[in-house]
Symmetry: C2
Subunit: 211 residues, 2 copies
């Protein structure tokens, strides 16, 4: 039920604010507002304080643009990681997803979006220039530029491919290795239900069987 009359302006404002979040409808917003109203004041202040602190105090790593509590993030400042490999991702969440796999030990570069003419996002809205600067510096530090690698970990749609291609062209002069995520059937995927494009690519890019 969508309520049309509110007994209190304060409740109406809070429901409006909560309902402005993506994926939260007016029913859920009302339920959450009444839930918060039933909590001790200190819990509510802790809730709003944590959100304000995130927005006001969070920093972005000056190196890779990842969310960080300091000027340099914990990944960039970890000396045990391979500083010759940079994994280019769209967002903070992608870094967290890849980190959680435990399979990657290099550094990252967060673009902060993806090139999308439809949404009006061009290369200058992203951190592409900063990435080029990083790769240029990296290429000058190694003996052979092929020791350095940039991994494109962007989504497999047209915008992801466009962004990867744009970056690839910009990085070509430095001679570093550029790779992209393997595309193919997921582990456990049923051949019958795979989409044709993925199945087609996974045949073209078949890998030698290593038992």
């Amino acid at each position: 039920m969508v309520f049309t009359k509110f007994p209190s302006k304060l409740l109406e404002d809070a429901v409006g604010a909560i309902g402005s979040l993506p994926g939260i409808g007016s029913r859920s917003a009302m339920r959450l507002a009444l839930h918060l109203l039933r909590q001790p004041a200190e819990n509510v202040h802790h809730f709003t304080g944590a959100i304000n602190a995130l927005r006001d105090e969070v920093k972005y790593c000056r190196n890779c643009m990842m969310i960080s509590d300091g000027d340099v993030c914990s990944i960039c400042s970890d000396k045990s990681r391979d500083s010759k490999t940079i994994c280019v991702v769209e967002s903070v969440r992608d870094v967290m997803s890849i980190e959680d796999t435990g399979q990657y030990h290099g550094l990252y570069h967060v673009l902060g979006g993806i090139i999308s003419p439809i949404n009006g996002t061009g290369p200058s809205d992203l951190t592409v220039d900063r990435l080029i600067g990083r790769v240029e510096a990296l290429a000058s530090q190694v003996n052979d530029p092929r020791e350095a690698e940039v991994i494109m970990a962007l989504s497999g749609d047209v915008e992801g491919e466009t962004t990867a291609f744009y970056i690839y062209r910009k990085l070509a002069p430095f001679g570093v290795k550029v790779s992209s995520l393997a595309r193919g059937l997921g582990f456990g995927d049923d051949l019958e239900y795979a989409d044709g494009l993925t199945l087609g690519r996974s045949i073209v890019n078949r890998q030698e069987f290593k038992p």
Copy 2:
């Protein structure tokens, strides 16, 4: 995916706070936190401010215990409403649901819960005493106590029935009319799919056909 490592304590705290809301899992909490991070700071402050204001400044009507911006709510202070009829509900949301039907023009009384031995909620945890005081005052103001009516608009489960019966016993000495919501099939309900208890009651409590 549930993230195990957070790049920032601030992000972890905010995701934890958002994820503590009922019905919001860790995935949604992360999505909402990153959404809030992308918003202008003033929007985020407006969001948290509206929630803090609700929790800190909202009042409860001294008459009916409804949420209110003042000492007396807009319903109790509306002189056009029938002050001889009090509708007893469990929560603020019930008042809003009934108000939205546009079918009721009396006053309310918000119990703030329901008698539930399992949850340890007894009559003293609710605003029952205050209701009794209101009904006593009302009964003394009218010429005939049967002019006053208390409508039990509680849920149809055991706890709702228990609460209604408890209140009914307490109000009996004042001689006011006590009624409860009609129970039966909903409009548009299919007989075939009605539960037996509801169908049985709707036969016992059948109403004379008024075309």
